[in-house]
């Protein structure tokens, strides 16, 4: 099981330029956890080394199902661990991202991604300390029931953009977007 020292996630949704992203991240306090998202043209895998030079906190990779089938999702989880990410944040991904003209994939949903990631960790394909978190909605019955299911299945955390889910506060991370120049 993975654990983080903070419930605040500094979120970079897209990387347009390695230099600009590195400059923005240099301003983030080390006690926060950083999430690098996949919405931009540059893969977060490409900036991890630069980030590590100026940031000592945990860094998670956000893996979205929108553009990947299960084979690539598995590859992304394994590659992120091999490259030195401290964990992953699993999400379905914004449907209209990228202009919306590409065929969306959505081969797996977040629940299925979670099962896949947990299985990889259980079998030692990623470290025991590798954090597995899942994005969730909040504020209504179905979202809360699903979030409880994520935690019950073994997710280390759920990540919310706002609000909270009663009883899951110790397992909740709050996503705070980072502004880039």
């Amino acid at each position: 099981m993975g654990a983080l020292l903070t419930d605040r996630l500094a979120y970079v949704a897209s990387i347009e330029s390695i230099d600009a992203t590195a400059a923005a991240l240099a301003r983030i306090p080390n006690e926060k956890t950083l999430i690098l998202g996949e919405y931009g043209p540059i893969s977060p895998l490409a900036v991890l080394d630069r980030v590590r030079k100026s940031f000592d906190g945990a860094v998670l990779l956000e893996i979205i199902a929108k553009n990947k089938n299960r084979d690539l999702i598995k590859s992304a989880i394994l590659t992120s661990a091999a490259c030195g990410f401290d964990g992953v944040l699993l999400a379905s991904g914004v449907f209209t991202a990228g202009g919306g003209t590409a065929k969306p994939v959505y081969d797996l949903d977040p629940a299925q991604m979670l099962k896949l990631a947990l299985d990889l960790r259980k079998h030692g394909a990623v470290p025991e300390s590798f954090v597995i978190a899942v994005r969730s909605a909040s504020g209504n019955g179905p979202a809360e029931l699903r979030a409880r299911w994520y935690i019950g299945e073994g997710a280390d955390y759920i990540a919310l953009e706002k609000g909270s889910i009663p009883g899951l506060e110790p397992k909740t991370l709050l996503v705070e977007p980072v502004t880039q120049a």
């Binding site: 379905s92 977040p110 629940a111 909605a137 209504n140």
Partner: protein, 214 residues
């Protein structure tokens, strides 16, 4: 029912370029209901090709059924033998069946959209994605693979805003509706029943259903 849309008539004429002797083929089932391939649309298409020789017009009950197409084309055998192109006001399956049955050049005059539920004329809704792995009995008879733009089989996703869908902001998230229905029935325990990924070894195109002879 298979829901279709008309292609631009000028585009259809371009696809039929070089063919002077034409037969217009309609569908008196799905395309007729959609008003894309009924007898009225067949007449309209004949007008579009008024500058060429329209040898015949024909409405076939189910052009996608090769047996029916073969039977009906026998009624216009002579015209068919002289035709240089058939304009198919049918779904894609119908157009291909006509091509296989006649061996003629066929121009597809419609775009095939989806298999739809008919509420009334002019109101067609997609309810099934024919994924081959039906979970309707566990989701209060609402198909999340079709009614969720992301096809999330274990929802809702993180994009839900209140009860609304992330993609269609004027619609409820189907998982919110599934939750409500299950709650009404006292079956909320089933909401988080896990649905595994679709096994695509069984679900990819082209699909076939061929009965074994007994």
């Amino acid at each position: 029912m298979i829901v279709t849309r008309k292609k631009d008539p000028e585009t259809v004429k371009e696809y039929a370029s070089g063919a002077d002797k034409i037969i217009i083929v309609g569908c008196s089932e799905c395309a007729a209901v959609c008003r894309t391939g009924g007898s009225e649309q067949v007449r309209e298409m004949a007008d579009v090709f008024a500058d060429r020789k329209v040898l015949a017009t024909i409405s076939i009950e189910s052009p996608c059924d090769k047996r029916v197409s073969a039977r009906d084309f026998k009624r216009i055998e002579e015209e068919l033998s002289g035709a240089e192109a058939l304009i198919a006001l049918t779904c894609g399956s119908g157009a291909q069946a006509i091509a296989e049955v006649t061996g003629k050049r066929v121009v597809a005059a419609l775009d095939t959209d989806f298999v739809g539920m008919v509420e009334r004329l002019g109101r067609f809704f997609e309810r099934c994605s024919h994924c081959g792995d039906c979970i309707l009995n566990e989701t209060a008879l609402l198909c999340p693979v079709t009614l969720c733009p992301k096809g999330v089989r274990n929802g809702p996703c993180e994009g839900m805003r209140g009860s609304r869908c992330e993609v269609y902001e004027d619609r409820d998230c189907v998982w919110h509706t599934i939750y409500s229905r299950l709650e009404e029935r006292g079956e909320l325990d089933g909401f988080t029943a896990y649905h595994g990924p679709v096994d695509w070894t069984e679900c990819h195109s082209p699909k076939e259903a061929v009965w074994e002879r007994s």
